[in-house]
């Protein structure tokens, strides 16, 4: 064990530990990809990675910089058309875990990757939009959200709901009959938030080393509920750090900062 690690490194480790061997994961680039490959290199060698680009069972020989990187194709198990990715794999119920990030995540796990400030028609900041996020949030059997805590990123309500969380303007997710269970956990740089089984509200469930309830609450735009039995989070092991730094992201493309 070592105290010499960055928040992003710990986030990658926490995300990796969420994954069980043999699961089918719909992966995005960046920390989710690092987390999956860290899991494959440690406790989950049979994790199956599917990218929205159509690469199934990818074993990239370099760090992919986009979900369409050619290294995801060379030596993968199957290339699916995007129609098959979304219809047969995702809507077909074959994806166990989905990973999403976003510019904003709210109290109910709704994610915004569309616009911030102003209106949809006249936004202050225009973001890229859904990509595959809306359907991942609908269909992945369980959804993990990953992102660094800040009041700006974690407001009480997002400016635009791109990807459905656990409640939409007061209506619970169950009313929409989405096949997936929705956001279960949010992996941040300070703590793990977890959805309340009854209400779907995100609550503080585990603190990273050195963090307190107050230090986390200060970064969140709503009165964050705190679980009775708060979990703790192990810092990265020496082996996890070695893999992340020497093998998985030696140029620190996604671990910097």
């Amino acid at each position: 064990m070592t105290a010499d690690y960055t928040p992003k490194e710990l986030m990658a480790c926490v995300a990796a530990r969420e994954l069980r061997d043999g699961e089918v994961v719909f992966v995005g680039i960046g920390l989710p990809n690092l987390a999956c490959n860290l899991a494959r290199a440690t406790h989950a060698p049979k994790l199956l990675l599917i990218y929205e680009s159509g690469a199934v069972g990818a074993v990239p020989e370099r760090l992919p910089v986009s979900v369409g990187d050619p290294s995801l194709v060379t030596g993968c198990i199957m290339v699916a058309s995007m129609a098959d990715v979304f219809q047969s794999f995702l809507q077909g119920g074959r994806i166990e875990v989905g990973f999403l990030g976003g510019a904003q995540v709210d109290r109910w796990g709704n994610i915004n990757t569309t616009v911030v400030g102003g209106s949809y028609e006249h936004p202050k900041v225009r973001l890229p939009g859904s990509g595959g996020a809306a359907e991942i949030a609908v269909h992945a059997r369980r959804l993990l959200i990953i992102g660094a805590l800040s009041p700006r990123m974690f407001p009480a309500d997002v400016d635009f709901v791109t990807s459905p969380g656990n409640r939409y303007h007061g209506t619970p997710r169950s009313a929409f009959k989405h096949p997936g269970a929705g956001p279960r956990r949010v992996i941040t740089d300070r703590a793990i938030l977890e959805a309340n089984d009854d209400t779907g509200e995100l609550e503080l469930s585990a603190l990273y080393p050195g963090e307190t309830v107050e230090s986390v609450r200060a970064q969140v735009g709503w009165p964050l509920a705190v679980r009775d039995a708060l979990g703790s989070v192990e810092p990265p092991s020496a082996e996890e750090l070695r893999l992340l730094r020497d093998v998985l992201d030696p140029k620190r493309l996604f671990l910097k900062g």
């Binding site: 680039i29 910089v65 050619p70 058309s81 949809y120 809306a134």
Partner: protein, 300 residues
């Protein structure tokens, strides 16, 4: 009858002011060469359709080609923003109209277009703001279960432009590696331009017919354009030019610098061959290492 023409002639003949155009390709095989020729020929009022607009649509917006964009993810993949797009939407440049879906929604629109159906059903969008932002997202009730499903309308662009690894002069086109949604885009469109890395003999196509994604019978023109997908990539031919994508942030953040880039690299060159000749060392930097597929047998 050969459909092989120059990029200049293909664009001149098949892309008209006011057209809806789709240059499809998910990271892989993006027909940059065609986009640049559209800019050079100063097409106007285009409706640009595409899942991931990528830098090529950002360049076309900056060049004033676009009236509207139909899309699902508008970013610089792996690098950041599309700044010309953002300026147009954030009120800092001439505005463009948006029609926005998710990837699945766009794939579904093209699937409907290819199948000549007026709509496609999918389980999506309930409990999000997307149908609020885009009233074209509607619902239908299943005649068997009574479930309410989301729908999107068919997308049938006037022109689809698809970059492929190889084609014959009739337009029979083969792709391997990521397939994106090029097949659906081609079948959905009224006119199809196939751009290829290699023109091959019909016999090469016929030796491996399972690799054909677009049959010549739906193709209007074939253009032979080696390196035509740069800075995107062509599996088996050349790697993605990631440096270009990363450096683009600096080029495009400022309107004037983006205009200078277009002057130098689009208006300032006659065609793709000049564009490539202007950047020596691409071959050494990006040429693909060999990873052969192996052979299967079609005998009986």
């Amino acid at each position: 009858m050969s459909k092989l023409v120059s990029m200049h002639d293909a664009i001149a003949a098949h892309v008209r002011d006011g057209d809806s155009v789709i240059i499809e390709g998910f990271t892989h095989l993006i027909a940059y060469s065609a986009g640049h020729e559209i800019i050079r020929q100063r097409r106007r009022d285009l409706t640009l359709c595409r899942l991931t607009p990528d830098l090529i649509y950002d360049q076309m917006i900056a060049a004033g080609c676009a009236r509207k964009m139909v899309f699902s993810w508008a970013g610089n993949p792996g690098a950041g923003s599309l700044f010309a797009f953002r300026r147009a939407v954030e009120g800092k440049a001439a505005p463009i109209e948006l029609e926005e879906y998710s990837h699945f929604g766009m794939v579904a629109r093209l699937s409907a277009g290819a199948a000549h159906l007026p709509f496609w059903a999918l389980r999506n969008y309930a409990g999000t703001d997307l149908p609020v932002a885009n009233p074209q997202i509607k619902t239908v009730t299943c005649p068997y279960t009574g479930e309410e499903l989301a729908t999107v309308p068919a997308l049938n662009p006037d022109v689809a432009i698809v970059h492929v690894q190889r084609a014959d002069i009739h337009g029979n086109a083969q792709v391997w590696g990521l397939l994106g949604t090029q097949k659906e885009a081609a079948f959905a469109a009224t006119r199809v331009i196939v751009v290829c890395e290699e023109i091959v003999d019909e016999a090469v196509i016929r030796a491996d017919p399972n690799r054909t994604i677009i049959p010549g019978l739906i193709v209007s023109a074939v253009v032979h354009e080696p390196w035509g997908a740069h800075p995107s990539y062509a599996q088996g031919y050349y790697d993605r030019d990631n440096e270009f994508y990363v450096n683009w942030e600096q080029v495009a953040r400022d309107e004037a610098s983006l205009a200078r880039w277009l002057d130098a690299w689009v208006y300032g060159v006659k065609d793709r061959a000049e564009y490539i000749a202007k950047q020596p060392g691409l071959d050494e930097r990006l040429k693909a290492k060999s990873r052969p597929s192996g052979v299967v047998d079609y005998g009986y």
